[in-house]
Amino acid sequence: MVSIRVNGKPQEIDADPAMPILWVVREKLAMTGTKFGCGIAQCGACTVHLDGQPIRSCSTPISAAEGKAITTIEGIAADDGTLTNVQQAWISEQVPQCGYCQSGQIMSATALLRETPQPTDEQINAYMKGNVCRCGMYGRIRQAIKVAAGMEPASGEAPAEQASVEEAAT
């Protein structure tokens, strides 16, 4: 038995101590927001917080969490459901496409802003480069981090774009 707290709730986990946190969370606790991407800590889709620090849950055994607190994507919003600044910025900047990597992206960005509330581009690059987005939304992720940090205004529901309308020429 491994005793952990997950999103504030105590849990007794009956599992092989070597089982990665990812599979404990997904299969034993039925919290599927944390994603499997590579299994070798190369893509960041499985990022959760262990005592506040971002870790790759696919490569961290549950035994390493004994007596510690795990936070997953399901556990970051306020108790009343109010989304965090990072989550709200992900919506205002229309970041996700397929969305599969975004739990991990948001967990990394949340940890970044906790450590560095006003990050530079270089700090964002260094912190976020472990999270692959195959849809390539890096520019929007960077922008959303700045919006969440209060460094840039949210796009929100911008007025309609003005694009030139011309008759078909071919």
Binding site: E74, G139, A168
Partner: protein, 754 residues
Amino acid sequence: MSEGADTKPPRSKAAKWTRRGFIGAGALAGGALIVGVAVRSGNPVGKLKPIVAGGEGEALVNSWVKIGADNLVTAIVPHCEMGQGANSTIAQMLADEMDVNWENVRVMDAPADGNYVSQHAARLFVGPGTLPDKPNAVSFMEPTYDGLFTQVAKLASAYITGGSSSVRSTGQNGMRIAGAAAREMLVAAAAQEWGVPAAEITTENATLTHAKSGKSALYSAMAAPASEQDLPRAPKIKDISEFKLMGTPAPRKDIPVKVDGTAMFGIDGGPDGSDLRYAAIKACPVVGSQVASIETSAAQAMGGVLQILNMGDFVAVIADSYWQAQQALGAIETTYTKTEIDDLDSAQMFANFASALDEAGDAGGNSKADYGDAAGAFADAANKVEAEYQVPYLAHATMEPMNCTAWVRDGKCDIWTGTQVPLMSRDGAAEGAGLDADDVTMHSVFLGGGFGRRLTPEYTNQAARLAKAAGYPIKMIWSREEDTAQDFYRPADISRFTGGLDAEGKVVCWNNVHCTEDEPAEAPLVEFYDIANVSVRTSEVEHPLRIGAWRSVAHSQHGFFVESFVDELAHAAGKDPFEFRRSLLANSPRHLKVLEGVAKMANWGGALPEGHGRGIAIVRSFNSIVAEIAEVDMTGDKPRVTKVFCCVDAGFAMNPDGLKAQMESGIIYGLSAAMHNEITIKNGAVEQSNFHDYHMMRMDDAPEIAVEIINGAPNNLGGAGEPGLPPAAPALANAVFAATGKRIRSLPIAKHFS
């Protein structure tokens, strides 16, 4: 019907044709399909109502629109959401035609039912020659054309999301008409109930109003009588001047669930309860081989292992957890039967490709375009240019590896899986479970990336076979290693060119031969360039790997080949690559505007820091024209792309932010491949396994991207999901040349700097 005599504003040509095709479909297919097929017993849509609109107070107005008691309007979308945002955009098109405000719109995936086949998407895939005995459908059969396509599409199980087709086909030719028809049916119902002329009723924000009498009603109040109205014969769709939602950056409907962990992807799906078990599998590494033997004693002793199965073409372990299944799978020793390609490696394969091209020579092979006299013009050319390019196989590497959850029991099968072809996957599951397709239920989920990878049903078939063997529900997940080694790859290719210039540096001929039959066939063609003598040919080769559709399909390689060679011709002519393309595009005004647009964005010709370079490329694909300029910094030990400027003409941007997002995405996907990606073969098998040896572009090496949109043909929409990709590789390679004089003729670029 008459030629739009009483309609204001005037209808576009595209709209007229579309309605005729659509009405024909309704009549000829016996009301089997889509819009305007009112809900009544004996009609296939009647069968659909309990599936898609079974809730309290819900009315299915037509098979693509339901209205709830809460006045929320749901668009039932026959495409899969894999990140492209098209489901939201085509709902936007429906809502605009219906006069529903965006806040009142919901999106629902259509069930995997043949009645939701998108004929409009299917016709993009089911090309000439597919209709039995009608190789070249001609205009007199146009009214029956869509009806036939419906039947063909059903046979092909073609509920397809691909080909950058959702907005331009299903949205433009289906959803808009569904919305317009639904609106007219609501108006007709209100006119009947209120005893007033339909023409006096106006609609706005999902509300019907009759100003004279002061009567008004929410759509929800008229939904049930509306569903009893006859199908409008010619629903009037909006002119561009009447658009309210179309052309605006309405926020995507699928994004909120993708920021809090609640979005359900295939890997998250499954039955309620605790019976679910997990499967890890390993398929034979060489195409054509079978499992010869397995040694399982170590694996059997491992914790949680329930079953070890030799399925012939793959080995599976079923366990209490996926991790346990994966650990045990790794402990199995497997031998495989011999194949003819057991000794093959990439070098030998490319040598085989080169031999095929040698055989085709200057004039042999299968002709794809032949006008003028390319050979004669080359003989007389003042300046002769020759080049050979090579690209590798590429894996899709979707973030969500292939997976499928299956439960086979009591003559039924339930499937949870991300797929771009739900009906084909349903058939694959039925085959695997030994059941009829009608006994298979496909549960709708998000796709953690598609890019063409999820156009095949084999993983669904595998899971159904396992679930049948197990007798309880199975969640099968491919490891990243399995996903990398068992893809349907973008074909490797070699492409050879000869081109001739006259004394003034004008291109007089273009002769190209390459391997692999192209999909789409237009990919290697250059008719938009002003070149009088052109020959384009293929020399077919056998691929040792399974090949498939990879984002932008054959445009992904030909964009690089064609736009690199144009750059080489420009250099040989001593001309600026942008000006050179301008003169070649003199007769292609839409191309020219896009090219000039991107040059202006990037300040083409302006000064750059020492060691930096700019490259330009323009590619037409999926009916959209995209030009890109890449800026590269060559002062480090390898190229670094700093900026990409992109100008796109997709006809009309139904959702400009969505179009921009797709351009950004296509550019990064294309640059990842151009810079890093290569699937190689050793002993007949794929060598790469995971993200450490199949690198993705990441936050720290991704460029800044700027996108501008030209709405150059509002009635002739192009795609968005793929067209951003093809210009990225040549723009980058041309930038490397501009900075260094080093011409990149094979990808990936990183190999030239290692």
